[in-house]
């Protein structure tokens, strides 16, 4: 650890090439800036502790003036993957996709196939909610113990990304105190779904991740 100063200098140069924007904002060339770019994923116990909440945020760094015209892409499928058996393969999925101003939700249900290719589980439609328009209060719907929301929200992510970039880029050697939240004042397009734990394994630990998939 003590050769750290020199080492850090080398490290900074070595690492400079591969940093984009955290948490997952603009993470990769194929999705960067597009409607399929996931910015963040959260999973936490709900206000009703019998429930778990999944949040998928997409289309990051929307300024207030750009938010009103932002929309969900009808060719995008947002898929929450849930592994209940510990093998990192999805046993259940919750799917969300937009059609004509509404967000439709399917599952939790077993996918027709696991992996990179999905079809929508139309037999397991669980809910639909009007997509909240910018400037309106949140529209929520409920069905079968689940709750649904889709629309613009404040980006809940916070980080001094600018200073992190400066450190990694070699133009700074430390974070500032206090730091400056690069994501302050920006919005994302959010999908929030709350589901009874009994529908996703009930007890124990799940492994979960979110995907965006595009209609072919």
């Amino acid at each position: 650890m003590k050769k750290s100063k020199i080492f850090l200098g080398i490290a900074i140069v070595a690492v400079a090439g591969f940093i984009a924007i955290a948490a997952d904002h603009i993470d990769a060339p194929a999705v960067q800036g597009g409607t399929n770019d996931i910015t963040d994923f959260y999973a936490f116990q709900g206000e009703d502790t019998n429930n778990l909440v999944f949040v998928a945020n997409t289309q990051g760094l929307l300024s207030p003036s750009a938010t009103g015209s932002a929309s969900f892409d009808e060719n995008t499928l947002i898929e929450f993957n849930i592994d209940t058996t510990g093998d990192n393969v999805e046993d259940l999925v919750i799917q969300a996709t937009a059609r004509d101003g509404k967000m439709y939700f399917f599952g939790p249900a077993a996918p027709s196939s696991t992996g990179l290719s999905s079809s929508i589980l139309t037999a397991s439609q669980q809910g639909v909610v009007d997509i909240t328009s910018y400037g309106s209060s949140a529209t929520i719907s409920t069905n079968g113990g689940m709750r649904f929301f889709a629309g613009p929200r404040d980006d809940p992510f916070f980080m001094d990304f600018a200073q992190y970039s400066a450190i990694v880029g070699g133009t700074a050697t430390a974070f500032n105190n206090p730091g400056d939240d690069t994501f302050a004042g920006t919005n994302v397009m959010s999908v929030v779904v709350e589901v009874p734990k009994s529908m996703i394994g009930g007890t124990g630990t799940i492994n979960t991740w979110v995907e965006t998939k595009r209609k072919q």
Partner: protein
């Protein structure tokens, strides 16, 4: 079912069908056409834990990482993660160095390369709250500082202090206590 009953049902069905078919008044057909959910959807992006693809995956592999299923990510990406972690942080420079979870660079990157979020269904859900580790991700969790501490902070979070906290500890808006939990947009 008795034969007569079957006949009766058949006749009833026929009448119903005929009656329907005789209805030529197409203008009164207001049956809504549902949305089209057909087709195949192919993966473009995925995410489990925060900032993993951003920090640990080399630029030429970022799209690859997003389209590798989690159960294959460890084998495909762990060694790249370890190389990049050791290049990024002096806290793993010496043999035997670990982070505060007791994980050396190989073990830590083995955990991270499979990019799924572990979530407990039995209580507190947090990325790290001082007690619980990797039991979920709550909105208010300072996940970046946690990751910086695990990357730079060494065995007891004391190493490289100017790199292990970005000093942004909370969101710019209050979260809601009730669904949908996220704050209204700016």
């Amino acid at each position: 079912m008795k034969l007569n009953t079957i006949k009766l049902y058949a006749i009833a069905a026929l009448i119903a069908l005929t009656a329907y078919n005789c209805n030529n008044d197409d203008d009164s057909n207001t049956e809504p056409i549902g949305p089209d959910f057909s087709g195949t959807y192919i993966q473009e992006d995925q995410m489990g834990r925060p900032a993993v693809n951003t920090v640990f995956v080399s630029s030429s592999s970022k799209d690859d990482f997003n389209t590798t299923i989690p159960s294959n990510q460890g084998a495909a990406f762990q060694s790249m993660f370890q190389t990049n972690l050791e290049a990024l942080s002096p806290a793993y420079a010496n043999p035997g160095d670990t982070n505060a979870l007791g994980l050396d660079s190989a073990t830590f990157t083995g955990l991270l390369a499979t990019d799924v979020l572990n979530v407990s269904l039995d209580g507190t859900t947090t990325f790290y709250d001082g007690t619980n580790v990797l039991t979920g991700r709550a909105l208010a969790d300072d996940v970046i500082t946690v990751e910086l501490l695990l990357i730079f902070g060494g065995e007891d979070f004391s190493e490289n202090p100017t790199l292990s906290n970005d000093n942004v500890d909370a969101n710019d808006k209050e979260f809601l206590t009730s669904f949908p939990y996220l704050a209204s947009p700016w």
